[in-house]
Symmetry: C2
Subunit: 249 residues, 2 copies
DNA sequence: GTCAGAAAGTGACCAGATGACTCTAGATCA
DNA sequence: TGATCTAGAGTCATCTGGTCACTTTCTGAC
């Protein structure tokens, strides 16, 4: 029963002819969609700078504040990156469909365990797919990440942690399933934030390195079931350690 | 320096004493976090109205526009709902960690298939968990949804579609894993939007109803493996239909 | 009691201005 | 020559103050 009294004068979308008058309520709502369409159309990639707020305001014939509100939404979704005095930059592929909430403070312990359980369901399957779809160059990439991690075994906590997560992300990407890849990216974002906060000294460096190598070996050997099993064992170990650590506190 | 004539009466931040002076750049960044903390602390639930923009501006001693930018981010994450002339309302549990991008236009065909494959990995597992964790009242809820769906078999497309998706969401919630539950909610949001756009007349009503009943029967019978298998079969069927439909076009 | 209309509250948006930060092209200096 | 410093332009961050649109509520007439 939605007989809208809204006059709804067919609005010409971006590209060329701009609308003459933008209907009052929720210009920013449509603007957000229009903006992302425009940025996609211009083929902007992560790292690229988008036009300035004032330029966009001129282009869409709205006030700069309205543009800012629309861009803020895309920032919340992790798609854009604001840099004071410099500009607004693309951060993630603009077609990304699944994202994580960047404003979750510290996760509840049970949510953290749910998160690991989710990884435990998804990642072994991805490792399996990675065997099927991974070419030589992809395997070389995985190897490169683990080599860098080995070199950082004695170094910064954060660097090593990032590299280890990169390994997991790379496998997710390798699976070829974009949705699952983005889902894993989001889950790992959450996990990384948590790791920085309460798992700072979770120091199973050698063990992580060993288990990651085992996964890579299985992938290189073309053994999907083994890759899944190694990944499962690895994450089960992680879960055990995290659970013990949560209890300790 | 910004020697503001502003008296800067020590702003009483939430909880207790926080920073005295808010650093100029990116007030909205911290504001977003502070706002969500405040709303959580006040125990606001989905459906509740949050304080007005001007009230919040006064409370945090910033301009209304700054509050708006912060709230826009939470809107993009699906946590808040702006209603012109009425107020801003809580839409989702504020602790939600995984969300979908509401500004994805039409999904690429391969992404849509990836989406179904993701469901195919996750949902059978959730159906299995639902058997273990589901009590009598939960099963009654599932039954209620399917009964309503049956009554809508001849009615609105959209109503039936919503009910069918509700069935899947309910099972995801039943699993007890909050992260996987939210992940499924996000995936189903994407699927629902797509369904509205290109699968309008995907009309396997009776078949859907039958297969949903089969899943429910397995859950009620306390047979986890069977529930997973029925869910897998159901989704495999969906995938086949969607794939055929995509090829047809 | 019902209904229409006024009034208040609230969001949507614009215009204009100031401050702060980044980046770069010249100018300066060793 | 080459490195360093500086001034300026470009850009984001925020404030102030206003107008309009929509919703909700209350009031008064019927």
């Amino acid at each position: 029963m939605d007989m809208e009294p809204k006059p709804a004068e067919a609005v010409p979308r971006l590209v060329s002819a701009l609308r003459t008058i933008r209907p009052r309520p929720n210009a920013a709502d449509e603007l957000t969609q229009d903006l992302i369409d425009l940025l996609k159309q211009e083929g902007l990639q992560p790292g690229d700078r988008i036009p300035s707020v004032t330029a966009l305001a001129g282009r869409f014939a709205v006030a700069p504040q309205t543009i800012r509100e629309a861009l803020r939404r895309l920032q919340a979704l992790g798609l854009l990156d604001f840099r004071h005095g410099s500009g607004v930059y693309v951060r993630e592929p603009l077609a990304r469909v699944i994202v994580s909430n960047p404003y979750t403070g510290q996760l509840d312990p049970d949510v953290l365990l749910d998160l690991i359980d989710a990884r435990l369901l998804i990642e072994p399957h991805l490792a399996c797919l990675a065997v099927v779809r991974g070419g030589p160059d992809a395997i070389a990439e995985l190897e490169r990440i683990l080599d860098l991690a080995d070199q950082s075994l004695e170094g910064q906590d954060e660097t090593l942690s990032d590299l280890n997560l990169d390994f997991h992300r790379a496998i997710a990407r390798l699976s070829g399933n974009k949705v699952l890849g983005q889902t894993m990216d989001s889950l790992l974002d959450l996990y990384a934030a948590e790791q920085m906060m309460i798992l700072q000294v979770y120091d199973n460096r050698e063990r992580d390195a060993r288990e990651h190598r085992a996964v890579l070996t299985a992938i290189r050997g073309g053994r999907p079931d083994l890759a899944a099993e190694q990944m499962r064992e690895h994450l089960t170990g992680v879960r055990t350690v995290v659970e013990a650590r949560l209890r300790a506190h």
